[in-house]
Symmetry: C2
DNA sequence: AGTTTACTGTGATTCAAATCACATGTATGA
DNA sequence: TCATACATGTGATTTGAATCACAGTAAACT
């Protein structure tokens, strides 16, 4: 299970300094906050928070990654967010309901740092610039959700997939000599649950995109984007 | 077209006092801000902001209502938000991009009050409680977007419709002697564009729900919810 | 009031994606 | 190293929703 790790590298590395949200804080403040935080580790597949439970608090992913998902009435797993290293979650539902609206599960060995609700509120009250940063961060997350709603409202599977690939390209893409290389954060099953379609359909459409020369796979998790323009045209970003 | 209306009732009514976001401000501050704001009127069907244009600023709906939508590549209109009276929009995209990501159109005769980006920023910096209120408001909007993503990810049309009806019930529902009466904010075509499906499918499913005794229509815009529990079971909120 | 225009319901048909079924491939762990 | 479970691709079939087509109805305009 999860365990407190006071001997972890959080303080030494000052993990929070890599989180844009806290960019406006000076070193002394960061140290203070880091010591206040609770630190936990999870193995791949372990649950960080369960839907319906009491919120842990504002949680920063110091190392590793996680997915936020919900099991729907028809038994499907709908993935809402992927949180990469240095991303965070929990701010949103500290401000709304008591119960956590979705589960979060570690996708790999993952270390998190948790700030309690009271501590976060105090931080926001004492450091107004952090509140503005949080607003900006939430604005970006809303922007993404709005795009997802648009792509999910679309009729064809191709649009959803193209939009997803563009999103992952922005988050995980690296420019290499062979083109933009993207490490997909999820299995095919996971990708399908992210865009809300059957695994088989996703698989077929990805093969199709590869045949058309839009993308190329190095292996099942490593992808090259050959024709970004075509992806944009297929995606929800395309103008009418 | 739109026109400035300095003679409108904004100052007298102090429209902003009805907006929860500004609950923490005292009367004097509200008056100051109201005078700073730009006031405009739109007739039904008129565009308040166009996708791709420069943001107007933080916009409060003093009277009337509006829809935010985007035309997708396949020519469909995807509705993202419905803004009822005393709701507001524009905070989100003031913090992200330069261009407005969707169009907003008045659904009826509508009066709006606009605060420019600089004015909003100044307000947030000078009145930290307003920033916290804004975070809370954004959290609620994110919560709704997350629910929409979940329902859009679902396979069947019924789930999307049930989720939409519950949402409208919360926003527009009034307890009457005959049950919970809901005035739908959109035509059938609009509802279909809101949940991302064909008008015909929506129409058929609504008739079906009426036959099953879950809802009842007084006229095409007035609806009674007879069995809220059944709607919840059909919706995205249902536990697995 | 009468005409035009937009809105709505319903059947018939088509079609894209889900589901079913299974073979192959790839990790994972005893 | 092998065995077991998990991941992936691909064909065949089914199905739910989109599309097409049209009639009836309500609303808006002159």
């Amino acid at each position: 299970m999860d365990s407190n790790c006071m001997s972890c590298t959080c303080l030494h590395d000052l993990c929070l300094s890599k989180v844009p949200l806290f960019a406006s804080l000076d070193h002394a403040n960061l140290v203070t906050i880091t010591t206040q935080m609770q630190h936990k580790s999870y193995r791949k597949g372990e649950t960080i928070i369960s839907e319906g439970s009491h919120p842990l608090g504002f949680t920063v992913i110091q190392h590793g990654s996680a997915k936020a998902y919900r099991i729907t009435a028809d038994g499907r797993e709908q993935i809402l967010y992927i949180f990469p290293t240095h991303d965070y979650f929990g701010a949103r539902f500290l401000f709304t309901e008591d119960a956590v609206p979705y589960s979060v599960e570690a996708l790999e060995e993952t270390h998190v740092c948790i700030l309690s609700k009271t501590q976060l509120m105090q931080l926001l009250a004492e450091h107004p610039p952090v509140a503005l940063e949080l607003i900006e961060a939430m604005a970006h997350r809303m922007r993404r959700l709005e795009l997802v709603v648009q792509s999910m409202g679309g009729r064809n599977a191709e649009m959803r997939i193209a939009s997803m690939l563009l999103e992952f390209m922005d988050t995980y893409g690296k420019q290499t000599d062979r083109g933009i290389e993207v490490t997909l954060p999820l299995s095919r099953e996971g990708l399908a649950n992210y865009v809300g379609m059957a695994r088989e359909t996703l698989s077929r459409k990805l093969s199709q995109l590869e045949e058309e020369g839009v993308i190329a796979f190095i292996d099942s998790r490593q992808m090259l984007v050959k024709d970004r323009g075509m992806l944009v045209d297929l995606s929800v970003l395309a103008a009418e």
